[in-house]
C-alpha cells in the first residue's frame, strides 16, 4: 500500500497545528506583558458567566437578528467540526468514513451536519449582505476601514468555501455510493447533498472520485488555514471569548478600583501620629516610584490585554456610546483595536530584539488620542453592550489617570473643578461653610 498520502496528511497536520500552537504561545506571552491583577476569585460565579455569556451567548441575543444568525453559525461551526475528528482519523489511518461503524447514529450525525452546513451557508450570506449592502451603521465607522473590513469579509468567504467543500465532498461520496464504487460503502445520510449529487451524473466515476478527494483535502487544509488565520483576525474571539468572559469584571459596573498605593500614601498623610518632619519610612530607597495610570500597553493589566485580543470588532459598544453617537472621536471599539495593534507592535519588537526596546511610540497619542479619552462620560453603556465581557472603560480610565496624575494634563476647566474640590470640598467655587444655606433660602 502507498503511504504517501498518509505521510502528506501527517505533515500538513503537523505544520498547521504547530504553527497554530506557536501563535497561541505568542498571544499568551503578549498578554502576560500586562500587569498582574487577581481575577481568580469567585470561580463559581466566573464559571457561570463563561457558561451563559460565552456558551449561551446571552448578550448576543439582545440584538435578535444578528444574535440568531450568529447562534446558527456558532453552533454549526462547533458541531460540524466533530466531522473533523473523523477526517483526521481517516487521513492518518487511511480509512474512509471510519466512524460509520456507529451505524444509525452516524447517519444521524452526517444528516445533522449537512442541515447545519446549509443553515450556516445561508446565515453567512445574510451576514455578508448586512455588512456590505445594508450599511448597518456600526460596520461603517472610521476604524473599520482597510484590514478590519476585509478581515470580516474574508472570514465570511472562508466559511462559504468550507461549507461548500463539505457539501461537495458529501455529494460526490453519495453519488459514488449509489453507483456501488469500491471503497464507497453505503453509509451516512445526505439530506442536502443528495440534491447536489445529480450534477455529477455526466461525469466519469474516476473524475467524481477525484472531486471527492479534492474536496476532502481542501476541506481539511482549509480548516488548518482558518486555524492559523485566527491570530491575525478579529476571529480570535472564537477561542478567547471563553477565558475572557471567565476573567471579566464581577463587581457592579459602577465600582472603579481604588489604587492601593494611593491609599497608603493618603493614610500616611492623614495619620495624626505621623510626625510630618520625620524622614519618610520608605523601606526601599531605590524603588522607582510607581507610575500611575497607563500610557502604553505594559501599564495595562493582563485582563485588559486579553480583552484587546478578544474584541470581535462588532461595534455594539460604539453603537451605544453617547460620545460616538453625537459625533465625537471616541469609539470604545477603536480603544480595543488600538490596544491590540499596539500590543502586536510591542510583541514584534520583542520577537526581534529578545526584549522590548523602546521604539519612541506609545499607546497614548500614537494610537489613542486625548480627545477620545476626554469625551467619555463613564456611562458603562459599552461595557453593558459587549457580548464577550470586554471593559473598554477601564482602559479609558487608566489612561485618564496617567494624564492627570503623571502629566497634570487635564482640560483646563476640569483642573479648575479639581482645585475647587481640593480647596473647598465642591467642584464649584463655593465655601464649604455655606453648604447648609439651602435650608433657609
Amino acid at each position: 500500500m502507498n503511504y504517501l498520502l498518509n505521510i502528506l496528511f501527517l505533515l500538513a497536520l503537523f505544520v498547521g497545528i504547530g504553527y497554530f500552537i506557536n501563535n497561541i504561545k505568542k498571544i499568551r506571552r503578549n498578554i502576560l506583558i500586562g500587569k498582574n491583577i487577581n481575577r481568580f476569585d469567585h470561580p463559581k460565579e466566573r464559571f457561570k458567566n463563561l457558561l451563559f455569556i460565552a456558551f449561551g451567548q446571552s448578550k448576543l441575543v439582545k440584538r435578535p437578528v444578528s444574535g440568531f444568525l450568529h447562534l446558527v453559525v456558532y453552533l454549526g461551526f462547533i458541531i460540524i467540526n466533530i466531522e473533523v475528528l473523523e477526517i483526521i482519523y481517516d487521513g492518518l489511518v487511511g480509512t474512509h468514513r471510519a466512524f460509520s461503524i456507529f451505524g444509525g447514529f452516524y447517519d444521524f450525525l452526517i444528516g445533522a451536519f449537512e442541515i447545519l452546513a446549509l443553515l450556516v451557508l445561508v446565515s453567512v450570506i445574510l451576514f455578508w449582505v448586512r455588512r456590505n449592502l445594508k450599511k448597518v451603521k456600526r460596520f461603517w465607522n472610521p476604524e473599520m476601514k482597510g484590514w478590519p473590513k476585509n478581515d470580516a469579509n474574508i472570514i465570511l468567504y472562508i466559511e462559504v468555501v468550507l461549507m461548500t467543500l463539505f457539501l461537495t465532498m458529501n455529494a460526490a461520496d453519495y453519488h459514488l455510493q449509489q453507483l456501488g464504487v469500491t471503497h464507497y460503502a453505503q453509509v451516512g445520510s445526505f439530506p442536502i447533498s443528495q440534491f447536489i449529487a445529480p450534477l455529477f451524473n455526466s461525469m466519469t466515476d474516476s473524475s467524481v472520485i477525484l472531486l471527492e478527494r479534492f474536496a476532502w483535502w481542501l476541506h481539511i487544509l482549509g480548516i488548518l488555514f482558518f486555524l492559523n488565520y485566527l491570530y491575525f483576525s478579529k476571529h480570535l474571539h472564537i477561542l478567547l471569548a471563553f477565558p475572557n468572559t471567565y476573567f471579566g469584571k464581577l463587581t457592579t459596573y459602577g465600582k472603579f478600583p481604588n489604587n492601593p498605593t494611593v491609599s497608603s500614601e493618603v493614610k500616611l498623610m492623614m495619620d495624626p501620629n505621623v510626625d510630618p518632619f520625620s524622614t519618610p519610612v520608605e523601606t526601599d530607597a531605590n524603588a522607582t516610584p510607581e507610575k500611575f495610570g497607563a500610557s502604553d500597553v505594559m501599564d495595562l493589566n493582563w485582563v485588559q490585554l486579553l480583552n484587546a485580543y478578544t474584541c470581535t470588532e462588532c461595534g455594539r459598544c460604539t453603537s451605544v456610546c453617547p460620545a460616538n453617537i453625537t459625533g465625537k472621536k471616541l469609539s470604545p471599539r477603536k480603544i480595543m483595536m488600538d490596544t491590540r495593534d499596539r500590543l502586536e507592535e510591542v510583541g514584534k519588537n520583542i520577537d526581534k530584539n529578545g526584549e522590548f526596546v523602546p521604539d519612541g511610540k506609545q499607546l497614548l497619542d500614537d494610537y489613542i488620542l486625548r480627545e477620545e479619552l476626554w469625551a467619555c462620560t463613564t456611562c458603562n453603556a459599552c461595557v453593558e453592550a459587549c457580548p464577550v465581557s470586554i471593559d473598554p472603560l477601564s482602559i479609558i480610565m487608566d489612561m485618564r489617570q496617567y494624564l492627570v496624575m503623571e502629566q497634570s494634563a487635564a482640560p483646563v476647566l476640569l483642573n479648575g473643578a479639581m482645585t475647587n474640590i481640593e480647596n473647598n470640598g465642591a467642584p464649584w467655587p463655593y465655601n464649604q461653610m455655606d453648604r447648609l444655606n439651602w435650608k433657609d433660602e
Binding site: G293, P322, A323, E422, G425, N437
Partner: protein, 263 residues
C-alpha cells in the same frame, strides 16, 4: 411650602446624645446648584412629612470625590473619601440616603475598601422602603394619568442595576409611563457623567443632552422624570435648547411626590 424645613445636623443629634435613623447625604449639587437645591428641599419635605429622624452633615460634608476619580485624579479622590469616612465613622453612621446617584455609587461601592462601610440607599429606594413600611403614602394627585417618561441615570441604572425603584414610585403616582426606546440597561447617558459636567464637550455633531432630550420629546411627555441632579440639569438645558420649556417640565421624582402631596 407652608412650614419651615426641619433639617437637623449630625452635630446637633450627637450633642443631644441621640442617633438619627438615617443620614441624608446632600451632595455638592444638592447643596449649591440652584436647580438641585429644589430637589433637596422637596426630599426634605417628604422626610419631614413622614416624620423620619434624619440628619445632614451640613458644613462637615465634602465632595465624595466622584468627579475627581472619574477625571483620573485618584489621589484627590482618596483624600476626599478618607476625609469623609473619618467624619462619617466619627458619628457612627450606619445608614445613608442620597438623592444623587453619583454620591450613592461612590459611597456604596468605593468607600468600603477605604474603611467606610454603610448601608447606602438612593432616595428612590428609600422612598420605596417607606411606602412598603407604611410610613409614607403616595397617591397620584395632580400627576394621575399624565404622560411621563423616565430618564435612567447611568450611575443608578447600569452602574448599580437599579431600574425598578424609580419606576415603582412613578407607578404609585399613577402616571402614564412612556418608555424611551433606549431605557433601563440600554439607557442613553445625559452627557454629564465622568466629570463631563465640569468641562466643555469635545468637538462633535451634537451635544449628548440634546440627543437624549430629542429622544425624550419623541414620547410626547408633559414631564421628563429624572432621579439625578446632573441629569436634571442636562435635560432641563436640553428642553430649553429645543424651545420646549413651555410644554415639558423636567422634575425629580422626589419633587413629583412632594408636589403630588402639595408639600
Amino acid at each position: 411650602m407652608s412650614e419651615a424645613l426641619k433639617v437637623p445636623t449630625m452635630a446637633q443629634y450627637t450633642a443631644e446624645g441621640k442617633q438619627p435613623e438615617v443620614l441624608f447625604w446632600v451632595g455638592c449639587a444638592g447643596s449649591f446648584d440652584d436647580r438641585a437645591k429644589k430637589i433637596t428641599k422637596a426630599f426634605v419635605r417628604i422626610l419631614n412629612k413622614a416624620k423620619i429622624e434624619f440628619a445632614v452633615l451640613g458644613t462637615e460634608e465634602s465632595c465624595t470625590g466622584d468627579p475627581a476619580k472619574r477625571a483620573g485624579n485618584e489621589f484627590l479622590f482618596q483624600m476626599q473619601a478618607m476625609g469623609n469616612i473619618e467624619v462619617l465613622n466619627g458619628y457612627q453612621v450606619k445608614k445613608i440616603v442620597t438623592a444623587c446617584p453619583h454620591c450613592f455609587n461612590t459611597i456604596k461601592n468605593e468607600y468600603p475598601e477605604l474603611g467606610g462601610n454603610y448601608e447606602v440607599l438612593h432616595h428612590t429606594q428609600f422612598l420605596n422602603l417607606l411606602l412598603k413600611e407604611g410610613r409614607l403614602k403616595v397617591e397620584g394627585g395632580k400627576f394621575k394619568g399624565k404622560r411621563i417618561t423616565f430618564h435612567d441615570p447611568c450611575y443608578l441604572g447600569r452602574a448599580n442595576g437599579e431600574y425598578e425603584a424609580p419606576r415603582k414610585l412613578l407607578e404609585k403616582l399613577e402616571v402614564e409611563l412612556i418608555e424611551m426606546k433606549r431605557c433601563k440597561s440600554n439607557g442613553l447617558c445625559c452627557g454629564a457623567g465622568g466629570a463631563q459636567m465640569f468641562k466643555e464637550p469635545e468637538a462633535g455633531k451634537k451635544d449628548i443632552n440634546i440627543e437624549r432630550t430629542e429622544e425624550a420629546i419623541k414620547t410626547q411627555p408633559s414631564i421628563i422624570a429624572a432621579a439625578c441632579p446632573f441629569c436634571n440639569t442636562m435635560m432641563t438645558d436640553g428642553v430649553k435648547g429645543k424651545n420646549k420649556e413651555g410644554d415639558i417640565q423636567v422634575m425629580d421624582i422626589a419633587e413629583m411626590i412632594a408636589n403630588a402631596e402639595d408639600l
